[in-house]
């Protein structure tokens, strides 16, 4: 089980990092989502891998599952869900306003067409 979980987290993280480094916004968002999946699994594993144990210290049970990482994961899921929603909206607004999916923020020097300038100031 350790091998499975560890390699699972590794694959998710590697995929996430690769996608987050791409130039378009959409793969970046997917990459960030992969990274948050990886970290959620990782937090779970940090409470040690236990099967079929109660999350409290009970007399009849030989051990217990650490409940704290589960609470942490819950918080992490809520936060990362909200953040992902935000960045999706942001990317969508960016796409609608500029008509391009590029993730880079190039400074508009004079005379370069198609590059957004700071004209809002």
């Amino acid at each position: 089980m350790e091998f499975l979980i560890a390699s699972g987290i590794a694959v998710l993280t590697a995929t996430g990092i690769y996608l987050a480094l791409l130039r378009q916004t959409f793969p970046v968002i997917i990459g960030l989502a992969f990274l948050t999946y990886a970290v959620n699994l990782f937090l779970f594993a940090m409470g040690r891998l236990t099967v079929d144990r109660p999350p409290i210290i009970a007399t009849g049970s030989p051990g217990y599952a650490d409940p704290l990482p589960q609470a942490l994961v819950l918080t992490a899921i809520v936060i990362s869900f909200g953040m992902t929603a935000l960045i999706v909206v942001l990317a969508l607004r960016g796409f609608l306003e500029t008509g391009s999916d590029a993730g880079n923020a190039e400074r508009g020097e004079d005379g370069i067409p198609g590059v957004p300038d700071r004209s809002h100031r």
Partner: protein
């Protein structure tokens, strides 16, 4: 238990909730509520600062759960000082924003109060995971604030800022997970105790966690090579927001002091001062990159942003000593560079808004209206930031130089701090002369002072920040005494542990 400790978190939270529910369409009342709330926050911060200045570490147990089982808030000299700086800065920012920036979008004041809540929480919390949560509160609000006013360029820059910080948050979780896995606790004082006796097989894991955490805070404090997001983000953000962000880099520096200077500091057993060998070279590089940026940039806002990066270099050099002298110098420099950066962003905005399509480009343009006043403010703020005598930048730099005198890295630190200071002075002199002296009048393009001109409140806010730097200069004697006492308290990790976990924990340490 002193209930005042929780007020810097609760007050902005309630103000923000009230603003968004009751007053979301009434800008005048929003301004009133937001300003009053910020004033109350300042009063609370002053009171907490007085309270903490007796040297006692006060603990607030949320839900009255005993530490380390519940989440604790800890008020010591360090957190009280940072809260006070935040409140002073917040007042200047809210006054400046009321000059017109807050009208460019709907929820400026709500987001602003939420941001204050996140910053206050990050300074007060004594729990590693709670720190993550307050980081997120702070960041979510900062995303909204950065995008305030909209525009395609700001959206693009905002996307980068959000993406970078999401990666940072993920790293934070990995780090906290590793620390929890090896120490079995999240309470900072308890981590400090458990880290001393961590099992041999877990040392490598814990060290990884500690260094990942350093990476997160380095990202926040714009330490090279994790600084690249800052100029884009600060340049694109509305001016009062950029000024408020001046404290965000210091949140990163504060967390390095708290986690790597105290919790994983000199007495943390196998991971003692694990951050030190990485922090110093990175801080030296930060000086160089920041100064090169100042010289290379052709935009005023980027110039200010790169000088913020540069100032983080000196600050983190002082922190990387991990001794009382270094911490005292770092605190002085942190307060100074916060007000200096905020003042500069505000002054730069007042200049930029009159330059029409020249914006903040450092090219020849018709003379700026109100040139005498604006150039005077810019001159003063630039002197403060670049560290020329007589202002606080100079004293701060002297303190940092004095603190590193004995260290083995003294030659590098002295050489680079002095050389890069010269570069920053050149950068600012060039910017000032292009903006104000090289102006040429062409009749058809003359810039006129339009109706939106210069509200008195804007000038007051910017002048207030420069005045705060002046106050820090005049009161440098008493201020350094306070910072020295704060630094001694930072170095006394046993006192911190005893205050949070009770005297029994002290006995368990065998002292």
């Amino acid at each position: 238990m002193n209930h005042w400790i929780i007020v810097p978190i609760i007050l902005p939270a309630f103000a923000a909730a009230f603003l968004v529910t009751a007053l979301s369409h009434d800008l005048a009342r929003q301004r009133l509520v937001s300003t009053v709330s910020t004033l109350l926050l300042l009063a609370t911060a002053v009171w907490l600062f007085i309270l903490a200045s007796d040297g006692t570490t006060r603990v607030y147990l949320l839900g009255n759960w005993p530490a380390p089982f519940g989440v604790v808030m800890v008020l010591d000299r360090l957190s009280a000082l940072m809260l006070l700086v935040t409140a002073v800065l917040a007042l200047a920012v809210v006054v400046y924003a009321c000059g017109g920036w807050d009208a460019k979008g709907r929820h400026f004041h709500t987001l602003f109060q939420f941001q204050l809540m996140g910053i206050g929480g990050a300074f007060l919390t004594g729990d590693a995971f709670n720190l993550f949560v307050f980081f997120e509160v702070m960041l979510i609000a900062s995303y909204g604030l950065m995008l305030h006013g909209g525009g395609a360029y700001r959206l693009r820059a905002g996307f980068q800022y959000v993406a970078v910080n999401l990666v940072g948050s993920t790293l934070f979780l990995f780090a906290v997970g590793l620390i929890y896995a090896t120490t079995g606790t999240l309470n900072m004082a308890d981590i400090a105790v458990k880290a001393r006796a961590v099992a041999e097989g877990d040392v490598a894991l814990l060290r990884t966690g500690v260094l990942l955490l350093l990476l997160v805070f380095a990202l926040k404090s714009a330490l090279v090579p994790l600084h690249w997001w800052l100029p884009t983000a600060y340049g694109a953000a509305p001016a009062p927001v950029a000024a408020l962000f001046a404290i965000m880099t210091k949140v990163g520096a504060y967390c390095i002091i708290r986690m790597h200077g105290m919790v994983f500091g000199a007495e943390a057993g196998a991971v003692a001062n694990a951050a030190q060998p990485w922090l110093l070279p990175a801080a030296l590089l930060t000086l160089v990159v920041g100064a090169l940026g100042v010289l290379a940039t052709r935009r005023l806002l980027d110039l200010v942003a790169f000088s913020v990066v540069w100032s983080m270099g000196s600050l983190l050099i002082a922190i990387s000593l991990f001794d009382a002298g270094g911490m005292a110098a770092a605190l002085y420099y942190a307060v100074h560079s916060t007000v200096a950066a905020a003042g500069l962003f505000l002054v730069a905005d007042m200049i930029v808004r009159h330059r029409r399509h020249w914006e903040d480009r450092l090219t020849t343009a018709p003379p700026v209206p109100h040139a005498t006043l604006l150039s005077g403010l810019f001159f003063l703020a630039a002197i403060v930031m670049a560290g020329l005598p007589p202002f606080s930048g100079f004293i701060g730099k002297l303190l940092v130089l004095d603190a590193v005198r004995e260290a083995s890295s003294a030659v590098w630190a002295w050489g680079l701090i002095l050389a890069t200071s010269l570069a920053v002075i050149i950068g600012y002199s060039r910017a000032g002369s292009v903006l104000f002296w090289k102006a040429e009048v062409r009749a058809e393009e003359a810039l006129t002072a339009d109706g939106t001109g210069l509200p008195l409140t804007s000038i007051l806010a910017a002048a207030g920040m420069i005045g705060a730097a002046g106050l820090l200069t005049v009161g440098a004697g008493p201020a350094t005494d306070v910072f020295a006492a704060t630094a001694r308290q930072i170095m006394d990790i046993d006192g911190y542990v005893g205050a949070v976990l009770g005297p029994d924990a002290r006995l368990a340490l065998g002292r």
